[in-house]
């Protein structure tokens, strides 16, 4: 494997309280290396900073300690090689599907014909044929997130950052989108960092699942998911899948069920 896609060393993030003195440590000493083309999920109890970490990787949030390299280069702010699929879709309600998908390209100054062509290709890829001229409010949640995914893919990033993208969807829609995401990923082999709170989702999708702990947010354990690919609906009934999901749940339950004393006091 060539140079890793993302290297995180000793990364720390503080949030300053509004009174200026007290600082809350959101992330402390996070170490994680993500290989090129790897699919990695971040999972952990709420407050573990998984979304914060994802936004730091995108460059939306600055960090205070440590080092973050993307393809060997330190990053300062968002870049072309990374794109985010947002939790609540973050679609522009006044633009139709095609224009939403082309939004990133438009910002880069791509000419109209190329923009339209790319958008139409992606509309097919994410299964939205016939919906190009619809507006977000005319689409179901699942379809809206397909638009969100297509918009991120449109700028052809090497790294796809997904922030609980299917969290707002019902279970059936979520299963279908997971399958479709894997198909797309299989064809493009982009590096994916996927934040989720669903154990089965993390196991089903990933090469590795990063379990994060709280106070401060940190990497608790990294689990290799040795399920064969391509993964299909049959994978979900594979004994190994069930075993891995239970194991992730076991670790999470231990973390949630035995909070340290100061945690209880803080909340």
């Amino acid at each position: 494997m060539s140079k890793p896609a993302i290297e995180i060393r000793g990364l720390g993030k503080m949030y300053r309280e509004s009174d200026g003195d007290a600082a809350f440590r959101a992330l402390g000493d996070v170490n994680l290396t993500i290989g090129d083309g790897e699919f990695v999920s971040l999972i952990g109890p709420s407050g573990c900073g998984k979304t914060t970490l994802l936004k730091i990787i995108d460059g939306l949030i600055p960090f205070d300690e440590g080092e973050l390299l993307v393809k060997g280069q330190p990053i300062r702010g968002p870049g072309r090689e990374r794109a985010v699929v947002f939790q609540n879709f973050a679609l522009l309600p006044w633009l139709n599907v095609r224009d939403n998908i082309a939004f990133g390209l438009k910002l880069q100054g791509t000419d109209a014909a190329a923009m339209r062509q790319t958008a139409d290709e992606l509309i097919s890829m994410v299964g939205l044929d016939g919906f190009a001229d619809r507006y977000p409010r005319q689409l179901s949640g699942g379809m809206q997130q397909r638009v969100g995914l297509a918009r991120a893919l449109a700028v052809d990033p090497a790294i796809l950052l997904m922030d609980e993208p299917f969290g707002a969807l019902d279970a059936q829609t979520r299963n279908i989108l997971q399958g479709d995401l894997l198909d797309i990923w299989d064809r493009s082999r982009k590096t994916v960092v996927f934040v989720t709170h669903a154990m089965d989702e993390a196991v089903f999708l990933s090469d590795r699942v990063v379990l994060m702990g709280t106070h401060p947010g940190r990497v608790h354990e990294v689990i290799d998911i040795d399920l064969p690919r391509p993964r299909t609906d049959e994978t979900r009934s594979d004994p190994r899948f069930v075993e891995l999901s239970s194991y992730v749940w076991e670790v999470l339950r231990t973390m949630i069920g035995h909070p340290r004393r100061q945690v209880a006091a803080a909340s």
Binding site: G59, L60, A83, F86, A90, L92, F103, L107
Partner: protein, 267 residues
């Protein structure tokens, strides 16, 4: 999009609309009959009858005095209102997007909002005399505050997730303003533009009635001092009709431009 608007226009809906129109007409007829019965054209300080008012209206339309007055009055309205739009939209955008500027300018806006506008009329008159400019200034003062505040609130309440998304997709500050903040603020801005129009009309009449005799205001005063209430009523009726008409146009414009919000459907 057109299909979505057109689809609910079923037979039942058209029928419902017809019922509404009939009911409204019936109420109007009842009001006019009551007015006619309650009025008395013989008493010069009393309520004129409907017929008497219509006769006065016909007379003023025939000799051109009413149209001439409306022409003069509306010049001040148009100039003052357009000036208010030109000033308040950039001001509101600046205040909405820069907290520092809002802290500086905000208190003055609140003072102007709290001040009884009519009390400013003598000050304007002292400064500008009994001129067209003075009437324009009063229309401006009446309308620009609401438009500024609405624009400011519209800009400030743009979904932070959309701003974050645009940052992630590498929008420059000016791109963010053009492609995200301004379109998102349009409904708020348009609501202010509609409210401002109502206020501008009040300002227009107040200016002419209170101090600066011109146009419709001076025509009203003329007939008032000659104890001819039917004429006064006729003029006021026309001003009210103009107001209703202009507000309806503004409302439709607002609905059309805010359609993506999906909360309202243009009838």
């Amino acid at each position: 999009m057109t299909t979505l608007v057109a689809r609910p226009r079923t037979f039942a809906r058209v029928q419902g609309g017809l019922k509404k129109v009939l009911l409204r007409s019936a109420i109007l007829v009842v009001l006019i009959v009551l007015w006619q019965m309650g009025g008395n054209d013989e008493v010069r300080l009393g309520l004129p009858t409907f017929v008497g008012t219509m006769r006065a209206l016909g007379e003023m339309l025939a000799d051109g005095s009413l149209l001439e007055a409306l022409w003069i009055t509306n010049q001040a309205l148009v100039v003052g209102y357009l000036l208010a739009i030109v000033v308040s939209l950039p001001l509101g955008v600046a205040m909405g997007s820069s907290p520092a500027f809002e802290r500086v300018a905000g208190p003055y806006l609140i003072i102007l909002q709290a001040a009884p506008m009519i009390a400013l009329v003598p000050i304007v008159q002292a400064g500008l005399g009994l001129t067209f400019a003075a009437r324009v200034a009063i229309v401006f003062l009446f309308s620009f505050i609401y438009m500024t505040i609405n624009t400011m609130v519209g800009v400030r309440s743009v979904d932070p997730a959309l701003k974050e998304m645009s940052r992630s997709f590498l929008a420059s500050a000016s791109q963010r303003m053009r492609f995200v903040i301004l379109p998102a603020a349009v409904p708020g801005i348009m609501a202010g533009v509609r409210l401002g129009l109502g206020r501008a009309m009040i300002g227009m009449v107040v200016a002419e009635l209170a101090l600066i005799g011109a146009g419709v205001g001076s025509l009203i005063l003329d007939y008032q001092v000659r104890f001819q209430p039917a004429y006064v009523f006729a003029i006021i009726l026309v001003v009210v009709l103009e107001g209703v008409l202009l507000m309806e146009i503004a409302r439709r414009l607002e609905l059309r431009l805010s359609q993506w919000k999906g909360s309202t459907v243009l009838e």
